[in-house]
Amino acid sequence: MITLISSDKRKFHVLEEVANQSLTIRDVIEDRRGRRRADRIILVTNINSKIPEKVIVYWLRHFLMPEEIAHASMSHKKAEKLKKWEAKFFDTDIDTLNDLILAADSLDIPSLFDGACEKVSDILKNRSAEEVGEISKIENEFTHEEEEEEIPSENAWVWRNEFA
């Protein structure tokens, strides 16, 4: 059992095998193997405080359904179920997705990282730059001329109306 401590000082006790899905944590554990008990405490203060909970939920679901099995011998039904579960898991507000991506990157959890990136790209699909700016609360920082002239003229067809 290892203990993760979040930025708001909450403790999460997780089975080592479960936390091993984070390559960063696995390396830390590997480094400290054979040492005292206190060394099984890992600070994850660099990630947003509500995220460890989500990450652990994700770990547990994937721990029950290891990736290799998922690809090789998992029945179609189970695969569908996992897909549905992931869709629900990632169906969250865009701020949480941002935190998840950062967490997955710093903890090095490839499947979580990929899933979150895919979800974000799904949100961006078929949306105009202004809509994306609104969703992600990014101020439009291009100068007026840039916006009027350069960008649309580069690939004008993207901005012109399309019809089905």
Partner: protein, 349 residues
Amino acid sequence: MMVTDWAHLPYDLLYMISTKLSDISDFIRFSAVCNSWRSSAAPADHAPRLPWILDNDGGFLVKADVRLCPSFSNKIYTIRVPHAYNMLLSGPSDCFLLNSKKPISLLNPFTGNEIPLPPLRRQTKKLYPIIFVGNRLRSEDPLVVLTFDVKSCDHILGVLRQGDDEWLVISLRVSFGIATLLGSFMYYKGHLYAHAQFDRHTLVIDPTSGKTVFTIRTTDRLNNNHDVKEYMMESDEKLLRVIKRIENYQIESFEIYQLDGPEKGYRWTRIWDINDQMLFLESYSGFSVKSTNFHGLRGNCIYFFHYQRTTNPLHPRARLCRYDLGNNEIRILPYPSNRAGAWIIPCIH
């Protein structure tokens, strides 16, 4: 508590997100959101793009508007390429169309970029329009164009290797119609392969000298009742020959042959599945990509156009179809046009 800031995510994370956008129009809009998003999305080294469909009936167009639709989306974009007016366009290969009107050039319809080509010496008025053949996924391969000399009944191949400023012209005399030759043509691992359906052999041509190095015999059946289309393409480092048999507006079968290397004495062997590859076929040519590069697309499948009979026999309707080699099922996919199209891989460099 950290503040969520989409504009200042590290570049490599933004880059990862942008690689998940397999439709180029989403990608361009992504790069228009803000400066950091723009600089993290580098178009040049980007993952392969989902092919689009050029709505030109696989033929030639002489107009300024290029109609394109992103695959499987039911959308159509009309791209205005003003200087394309009066061009005789064919292709595509990679993201380029070939303008075979003098002076010949390559045109990227997505950006309007035009690359001039050296004149093809044998190109006279007596020649049929030039058609692009070859591998459309690798730009370092030589450019190969094909045309037909009505006078001498020769097929004429023009080969332009990168850095060359002159075409190498190869004449081929074989007993097949032009339409048969077009599809079954490929540049593969340093040689040109041309399949002569009615001579029942494949010519292997050295592109530096223009000489036929050797020929490969085939054993596949000939059936005059079928409308047969042949394609040659590189798939997962292997050379494939695909035969589409149509009988009375119905797909009769797809046959796929793979070229065995020198250790097995160069021969075509029938194969029954293509693993995670996807084959894209059009009127005269085709190509293959790995399905794992495209989120949500099914591998081991052939994507092709098929003309369905309608009440008016002069106007059959083209459908975009997917043939699944795993279960031999054909499914019709959304496609907003009545005409068959050509696949084009969009790029903006």
